[in-house]
């Protein structure tokens, strides 16, 4: 635990007179670590949108089919018949592999909206789009078939590749007796570290919002990481924080000036976009951070980069002050990197919140685990989550199992250590939104442990010191 580590360090109390010697005070060296970015697969090369999105599914299925066949054989015996849908025979127990599709009545459909015979108004956004009349359908390259049986309809995610075992009934529906997913991929070895090293994960800074309550908390976070807060022993422990990762959510939603798109140009000519000031603030904050610790900045949902989650890194021109430092790394979302041999993989949270809208799962951690088991970062892309129409390979498929798998902008902090069938150990972390929870996460690279850090300040309405600010 970080607290204990700090308590163990030596140091004098600061509630005393300053020493009369010329000693300026202790200066600790920031722990260095080896860092290797591995997110080349998430950078988009040429951007041609003149393709159909259906190719994504084809690529996905093609890539995952052999894996699933392997899993199916492991689970149900190597003599199980794996059939294509076109070769299905009624009554035969077999296994089929395909893409799940959940047909939901409430799912917003652009075709329905613009269709004149329906005469529908655009649907207002809802928290959940699942309903009672949903159907689950399995598709492969050529056909699709309805599924029923032991499949939990509300937990199914559109776009996930699964293998189901059962038989086809007379009425053309497939009755499921069992199903399996691709599960965790192989994990590279994690080297043993001799000392405690930490990585700080934070997200949802929410700059540029009209409500600035969290700014002091943010300043406290930066001061703590920069080694300015705390007594000597805490500062020496903080020197072990080797890296800071900002998982999206840098700008708040209110920094996005919606009026700019609807108002006439001559009315908005002299007004600055709200995000300009917010980015300037971010630049100043980053400057304070990068002066003392390497920082990776991932873009989030409302940040000035492209919308579809294969978001490209923020451009360095927006950070004139801090981009001078080599410690600032502007990275893509999703992001993968090796820090001291520990593989980090994560997103800013758009994939998880999208899945949350279309299934009954509410806990971000549960969804995170589900995506890991499905071996796919964002199965709902491109159905309900925007993405780029790639066609040769699906970059969201997990090929190697990470050691730390995180997602940002979660409502609260949560973590879990899961074990895979082949001995993989993954730490799942949902990084909470800092602007609402004032909490960040500290991951210990040696023990694969995570701990929340909260910051609080006092305010006029009495003591809301600790209760509100600590996670759940």
């Amino acid at each position: 635990m970080f607290s204990e580590l700090s308590a163990q360090q030596r140091g004098s109390s600061l509630l005393c007179r300053p020493a009369s010697s010329e000693d300026q005070g202790p200066v600790f060296e920031r722990a260095s670590q080896s860092y290797c970015p591995r997110s080349e697969r998430y950078t988009v090369g040429e951007r041609s949108f003149s393709r159909q999105y259906a190719h994504i599914y084809a690529a996905r299925l093609m890539q995952m089919r052999p894996l699933l066949s392997q899993r199916a054989e492991n689970k149900w015996g190597s003599d199980v018949a794996i059939r294509r849908l076109c070769h299905l025979q009624t009554g035969e127990q077999c296994c089929i592999v395909g893409t799940l599709f959940k047909r939901m009545e409430l799912q917003p459909s652009i075709l329905k909206e613009i269709s004149e015979e329906h005469n529908l108004l655009p649907q207002p956004p809802r928290a959940k789009y699942i309903g009672e009349a949903d159907e689950v359908i399995l598709e492969d390259e050529l056909q699709r078939i309805k599924l029923e049986g032991k499949i939990d309809r509300d937990r199914c995610i559109t776009g996930s590749i699964v293998a189901v075992y059962g038989a086809e009934r007379n009425d053309g529906k497939f009755t499921v007796e069992d199903f399996c997913t691709a599960d965790l991929p192989a994990q590279p070895e994690r080297p043993a570290l001799d000392s405690d090293r930490y990585v700080l994960l934070a997200s949802g800074l929410g700059l540029g919002s009209t409500n600035a309550d969290s700014m002091l908390g943010l300043q406290l976070l930066i001061d703590m990481v920069g080694g300015q807060l705390g007594e000597q022993r805490e500062q020496s422990a903080t020197a072990n924080i080797a890296r800071v990762l900002l998982a999206g959510g840098l700008l708040s939603q209110s920094a996005q000036d919606k009026d700019a798109s609807t108002k006439a140009k001559y009315q908005t000519k002299k007004t600055q976009a709200g995000s300009v000031e917010a980015v300037r603030q971010l630049d100043e904050l980053l400057l304070q951070l990068v002066a003392s610790v390497p920082v990776d900045v991932m873009p989030g949902q409302y940040d000035p980069t492209n919308y579809t989650p294969q978001q490209q890194p923020l451009h360095r021109c927006m950070f004139p002050l801090s981009s001078v430092y080599p410690t600032l790394q502007l990275v893509s979302n999703p992001y993968q990197a090796d820090v001291d041999g520990v593989r980090f993989l994560g997103t800013s949270g758009q994939n998880v919140s999208d899945i949350q809208k279309y299934t009954s799962m509410d806990s971000h951690l549960e969804i995170l685990e589900e995506t890991l088991r499905l071996r796919h970062l964002a199965p709902t892309a491109p159905d309900t989550l925007g993405c780029y129409p790639f066609y040769q390979r699906d970059p969201f498929i997990l090929e190697e199992c990470p050691h730390v798998y995180f997602s940002g902008s979660a409502p609260s902090f949560d973590s879990k250590l899961i074990k895979g069938a082949d001995g993989q150990q993954v730490l799942l972390v949902t990084v909470p939104e800092f602007c609402s929870t004032q909490t960040a996460c500290l991951v210990n690279l040696r023990t694969l442990d995570v701990e929340p850090i909260s910051f609080s300040a006092f305010s006029a309405d009495g003591d809301e010191d600790s209760e509100m600010n600590v996670s759940h």
Binding site: Q288, S456, E467
Partner: protein, 456 residues
């Protein structure tokens, strides 16, 4: 010497009524943060023992906190009265120190944030100097390395509309000192506004186009990232060298609608004059707002420039009728901004278009050889076969020292450059026109109308 800080803090707290946070103190006095915290504690202690001064303090407490089974590390700023309470709630206390000292009791912690924010903003470059952790890799890149890093990145598209000021800072020419920046803005506008001579495009120095160009130049040379980006952006406008015309040529294609407007204004007629003026005015405004968006750090300078622009803009409509009022370099120097250009008046047979580049009208301490327009008589054969001698402006290169007296001569009917001066310049030129016409009249040995009165 050790006690001096007590007086310092005393002064800040009591006299200036400030909230003294440890960070502010550390940045202001230039001491390590831990020393600053100890100083605050000492001061508090000292003052309290001495007199019952009305001082309040906030403390920072951090430690382990267990909440519903979830342990976390909590860092919290508390008022003095809440200190013991908070310490009791934590299961393991890691550090306690004074966060700030102030005279008034704070109800809310947001003033603490604003104090720190201001302190950091004032010392942006040294914010990590006094902290307890040093990071060896956090050394700002030098400009050479920055340039290499930029070159490694994919080159930006040729039409960056809202431009990165630091990108603009990479002209191949040295950026001018900041005193020139103001002139530069005006130079940009006046150059842009210079009317277009359609055919003699190649002859045209194209400086006015250059003005738009710096936005378009791909980031080449060394980064001037640290220098205020705005100044660089404006500083570019003034650098006018003849070789820029090549760049201007290639950037011709990629220039903005400004060029199209200029092309449109090329048919030399009175009619499009007003229209072109409007369009150039509009384009100027647009570019002005564009530049405003890019420049966020130098708002003051901008305001000044805007004011200047506004002043100048007023006399513009008056000048729409004026034909041939080319500027002399000197008035341009004194009056800085040239608001509008008027497009070329009806083309006389010979169209020698010389644009005036602002760069050489800008005063300054630079010793670069520049070009200026000088009135010179030119003899040529016109299409009727007659030999005509006209006084025209021609570019001549000179160095700063030579340019002394203002050249206030109106050109004759062949008008060339279109830089409108301010209204008073116009009047001067009208007068000078009359003067020169009077002079020429004397040459023809005709009695002027005033002769009637003089002979009396």
């Amino acid at each position: 010497m050790d006690e001096l800080y007590l007086d310092n803090i005393d002064e800040y707290v009591n006299d200036h009524d400030k909230i003294v946070t440890y960070k502010w103190l550390s940045l202001t006095l230039g001491v390590h943060v831990n020393t600053a915290k100890q100083m605050l504690y000492h001061y508090l202690d000292h003052k309290r023992k001495e007199s019952s001064a009305q001082l309040h303090a906030t403390y920072l407490v951090s430690g382990k906190f267990v909440d519903k089974g979830q342990t976390s590390h909590l860092v919290s700023v508390v008022r003095e009265d809440q200190l013991e309470d908070c310490k009791a709630r934590m299961s393991l206390i890691v550090s306690v120190h004074v966060y700030s000292v102030q005279k008034a009791l704070l109800r809310d912690s947001s003033p603490l944030y604003s104090v720190d924010y201001d302190a950091v903003r004032d010392h942006l470059q040294s914010c990590a100097k006094y902290s307890a952790i040093r990071c060896t890799s956090a050394v700002p890149l030098s400009s050479v390395e920055l340039q290499q890093a930029r070159e490694r990145q994919p080159a930006p598209t040729p039409e960056p509309v809202v431009k990165v000021p630091s990108v603009n800072g990479e002209a191949s020419h040295p950026s001018k000192p900041s005193t020139k920046s103001q002139k530069g803005i005006m130079g940009m506008f006046s150059n842009k506004a210079a009317p277009k001579h359609q055919d003699s495009v190649t002859e045209v120095k194209l400086e006015q186009k250059e003005v738009v160009k710096p936005e378009v130049e791909p980031p080449k040379s060394k980064a001037a990232a640290k220098v205020s980006p705005a100044l660089n952006f404006f500083g570019n406008q003034k650098t006018k060298k003849p070789n820029k015309s090549d760049k201007a040529d290639e950037s011709l294609q990629s220039s903005s609608r400004l060029e199209q407007q200029q092309h449109q204004s090329s048919p030399p007629e009175k009619k499009p004059e007003a229209a072109a003026e409007e369009s150039t005015k509009g384009s100027k405004k647009e570019s002005r707002s564009k530049t405003k968006r890019t420049v966020d750090s130098d708002s003051e300078e901008e305001k000044m420039d805007k004011k200047k622009r506004r002043r100048i803009k007023k006399p513009e409509p008056d000048s729409s009728d004026e034909d041939i009022i080319p500027d002399s370099p000197q008035p341009m120097q004194t009056k800085e901004p040239e608001p509008e250009p008027s497009p070329p008046p009806p083309s006389p047979p010979q169209k020698e278009f010389e644009s005036v580049s602002h760069s050489h009208s800008v005063p300054g301490g630079t010793k670069i050889r520049k070009r200026r327009r000088v009135l010179k008589p030119k003899t040529f054969v016109d299409d009727e076969g007659c030999i005509v001698t006209e006084k025209v402006y021609e570019s001549e290169s000179y160095s700063e020292a030579e340019d002394e007296a203002p050249v206030k001569q109106a050109p004759t009917k062949c008008s060339t450059a279109k830089l409108h001066a301010a209204g008073n310049n116009k009047e001067e030129e009208k007068k000078s026109q009359k003067k020169t016409s009077a002079n020429t009249n004397k040459g023809t040995k005709q009695a002027s109308i005033m002769g009637f009165f003089q002979k009396k």
